[in-house]
Amino acid sequence: MTFAQTVSTKRKLSSRNRADTAFKMLGRGALLLAFCSLLALAIAIFSRTLPALTHHQITLDVAFEPDAFDYQTSAPSGTDASYRLIYANYGQIVGRSLEKAFPEIVDPAEKRALRRLVSPTARMQLRDRVLANPSWIGTKQRVALYVSKGAENILDANEETVDPQLTLWLTQLQDRRALSTTFKSTLFTRGDSREPESAGLLAALVGSLLTIAVSVAISFPVGLLSAVYLEQFATRSRLTDIIEVNINNLAAVPSILFGLLGLAVFINVFHMPRSSPLVGGLTLSLMMLPTIIIASRAALSAVPNALKAGALAVGASPVQAIFHHVVPQAMPGIITGTLLAIAQALGETAPLLLLGMVAFIVDLPSEFTDAATALPVQIYMWAESPETAFSNNAAAAVVVLLCLLLALNSLAMILRSRFQKRI
């Protein structure tokens, strides 16, 4: 090898190594890009969650003047003293205390506009407080009242049209330290509503749980039993081949087609109630079946054959050997697969949309045949709304859904690691 050749080889080698490093960096960049998108997703969601979880309040000196409670000239006969408290003119009380808070405002039109600061629910807030403490009548109390939707939008810096008058008043209130934030519990204690501040996701959550209950009740036993059959009893035949191809195919069918199946079979042919967790659960159970069967088969085939052989040797029948010895050993794996299938079903939206679970549900569903909606569908409905406050609610619902999924997945992971240790 001549000197010139060595030099050119060395030069070539260094450029080849540089190309290798560049390729490695490209790979690292791709991985980073994937993580960045995960991060962007997390930021987009969490930045919107906080406004949805908080309520802004205005602390006001509220005078409960007796004349507001004699607003109704006479109580209808047969009513008790609380009638006077329930039907008092709380609107007037709220208005007067707002006017007192802004004594510099004299124009009657502006005085009326002041009421736009507080939410219409403020009257209910006052009513509930007075019903709890009737002795407040005739006294002056410091009470925190919920701000209106418009004020909430300004305080959360939402991209909505802003009322300059409200902004001015709110900055004045802020300077006086009369504004505070509280945790908005309505999100977790109520059903859907037309008003974003009183809309909650409990009805959707209950609907999701009912739906999942139906689908697990069907797909877990059926999936487990068919896995046992395919793994332990079936001899290779044309029928079992068809079943296996079918299961793999079913796993790859787009979820929306299951919705069409449910619509055509359960609703059109069997006339089951539309929008019900029963129909949703039946449809989702068909989607969960392949996942559960594949996972259960893997778990069953991992059980050492000696266990079954031993049971058979001491006189157990095949059914006894399998159900008393093989299946219990495979149970952690089977449950892991089922949990993953539940996680998948819990986030499924498209088939439920087709089955009419995209409904405005205020009351909590209590039966499997009640009209219901599901958490992911609720997210869809809120996310589609043009109001930013609803979009924020959707972000909060996404967080709840992701927490549920994370819990299910961690449970599955814990089970899996325990199982691996034992074998």
């Binding site: 080849r16 190309a19 290798d20 390729f23 490695k24 490209l26 790979g27 690292r28 960049g29 791709a30 991985l31 994937a34 998108s37 995960l38 962007a40 997703l41 969601i45 059926v222 039993l225 068919s226 059959y229 009893f233 079992t240 068809i242 079943i243 079918n246 195919n249 079913l250 069918v253 787009p254 979820s255 929306i256 087609l257 069409l260 199946l261 619509l263 055509a264 079979v265 042919v269 006339h271 539309r274 068909l286 392949p290 029948s317 095949p318 159900f323 996680a343 986030g347 939206t349 498209a350 949309l353 087709l354 009419g356 992911p376 569908v377 997210i379 869809y380 996310a383 979009s391 959707a394």
Partner: protein, 459 residues
């Protein structure tokens, strides 16, 4: 009485027969001084299972078929009324009656409909009573029949085992029934759809479905050309794949060839996390961040980006399928025999050269199958496109324009009031059928490619 009550009744009857049978076989063994073939509890199970079968069938009929039975009876009773109605009037009459019964009448019901609804309610009770009576009598008679069979020489255990295996077989057949159900329901409604829409019409570009009540006004059933829908679907999936394939492939190469063990241990679960996020969350992400972001960038560059562009939907879908693509590519790369990789490295190639000149060409069938599977996944994806893509059918190749997809139109056609006799609803099933066939062909082709790749690698 509800089906669950009947089910509880069945459990009680079965439990009684279990106890009877066990008592009887114990008495018989004592009497005949001969040991029984099976343990006493198997005789109990034998009787209990036999008694439970009729109740179970009864509950199934009640849940799934009672409405249909009642409807058939009602149609028989109202034969003369239906004869006077115009063609298709019977289905409309029944639909109106059901919506009246559900408490959501489409319009003020005519006296005929109210009378029919009353008759239907009147028919329900005798049908349900018959089901309950027949299944109870069946349970009792089968139970007593089982008790007569029971004697020490009778091998109840073998019978129970056979029943269990039969039950297992039934469960696995359910997977076939589900697939058949999908195919048949799609096929049935598609054929009905083609009664209204000619096949030639499918190959036009106009998609303007119209609801039944609109059609009733002027007789125009709308236009059902699917070309624009499929072009939109493939445009979005092209955008998604052209982003996700390079990234997914590079991630797979980096993690399998370069990354340290600890990087891999952290990265894999993170990617799984990305894969486990529900699609509705990605849709939300597209609405609140990616869509407005792309629009702002477009405005900055002087491009006209639609608020719901194919680009936004495709980009978000790409994020969704990156973990899927990278795990499939990882499988394809690891299916390449390590002798090839080691040989290349031993000859002095750098890792990058090994990947580009040896691994990727050898893994090409596997990677192509990954692309096909990913495309089939993006075609069937609903929520992201429903939230991030548009509703109007545009035949365009511009990724910055708004397009619609097959899945979006399926959802649009069957949400709201569903009438099973309107072309709009039927067209959803027709689209579903096309979607099913497309994705099935892609999956089958992808799996055959993958098998070829693996067998090629083994040689």
């Amino acid at each position: 009485m509800t089906p669950s009550h009947l089910l509880s009744l069945g459990v009680i009857i079965s439990a009684c027969f279990f106890l009877f049978a066990r008592f009887r076989i114990r008495a018989a063994t004592l009497q005949e001084q001969a040991p029984s073939t099976s343990l006493p509890r198997f005789y109990g199970w034998y009787a209990a299972v036999l008694a439970f079968v009729p109740i179970f069938l009864g509950v199934c009929i009640w849940v799934f078929a009672s409405t249909t039975i009642v409807e058939i009876l009602l149609v028989n009773r109202l034969d003369s009324l239906f004869a006077s109605l115009p063609e298709g009037g019977r289905d409309r009459f029944l639909a109106e009656m059901y919506s009246f019964l559900d408490g959501q009448p489409l319009r003020t019901p005519s006296p005929d409909i109210a009378a029919a609804a009353n008759m239907l309610i009147g028919l329900r009770t005798p049908v349900v009573t018959t089901i309950i009576a027949l299944s109870t009598v069946g349970a009792l008679s089968l139970g007593f029949l089982a008790l007569r069979f029971i004697e020490p020489r009778f091998n109840a255990h073998a019978h129970i085992d056979r029943t269990v295996v039969f039950l297992l077989l039934l469960c696995s057949i359910l997977a076939i029934i589900a697939t058949l159900g999908i195919i048949l329901s799609l096929l049935f409604e598609t054929v009905r759809c083609f009664e209204f829409v000619s096949i030639c019409q499918l190959f036009s570009t106009d998609w303007l479905p119209r609801a039944g009540n609109q059609t009733a006004l002027d007789g125009d059933a709308g236009k059902y050309g699917v070309l624009a829908l499929f072009s939109g679907t493939f445009l979005i999936s092209f955008v998604a794949i052209s982003i996700a394939l390079p990234i997914g492939l590079l991630v797979a190469v980096y993690l399998s060839q370069y990354a340290s063990h600890s990087t891999r241990r952290i990265s894999k679960p993170m990617l799984e996390l990305l894969a486990g996020i529900p699609t509705v969350v990605y849709g939300f992400f597209a609405i609140v961040l990616v869509g407005p972001f792309l629009q702002r960038i477009g405005g900055f560059l002087g491009l006209d980006v639609a608020p719901q562009s194919a680009m936004a939907a495709g980009a978000v879908m790409a994020i969704m399928i990156i973990p899927y693509v990278s795990s499939l590519c990882d499988d394809a790369l690891s299916a390449v025999p390590s002798a090839l990789r080691n040989g290349s490295l031993a000859l002095g190639s750098t890792t990058a050269e090994t990947v580009l000149n040896v691994l990727l060409p050898a893994a090409l069938p596997g990677i192509s199958s990954a692309v096909l599977l990913a495309v089939s996944r993006t075609i069937g994806e609903t929520m992201i496109v429903l939230m991030a893509a548009g509703l109007a059918a545009n035949l365009t190749l511009n990724p910055l324009a708004s397009v619609t997809t097959v899945t979006v139109q399926i959802v649009q056609s069957v949400t709201g009031d569903v009438e099973f006799d309107s072309v709009k609803t039927l067209s959803a099933f027709m689209l579903g059928m096309l979607l099913f066939v497309t994705t099935l062909m892609m999956n089958v082709f992808a799996f055959s490619l993958r098998r070829r790749g693996i067998s090629h690698g083994e040689v």
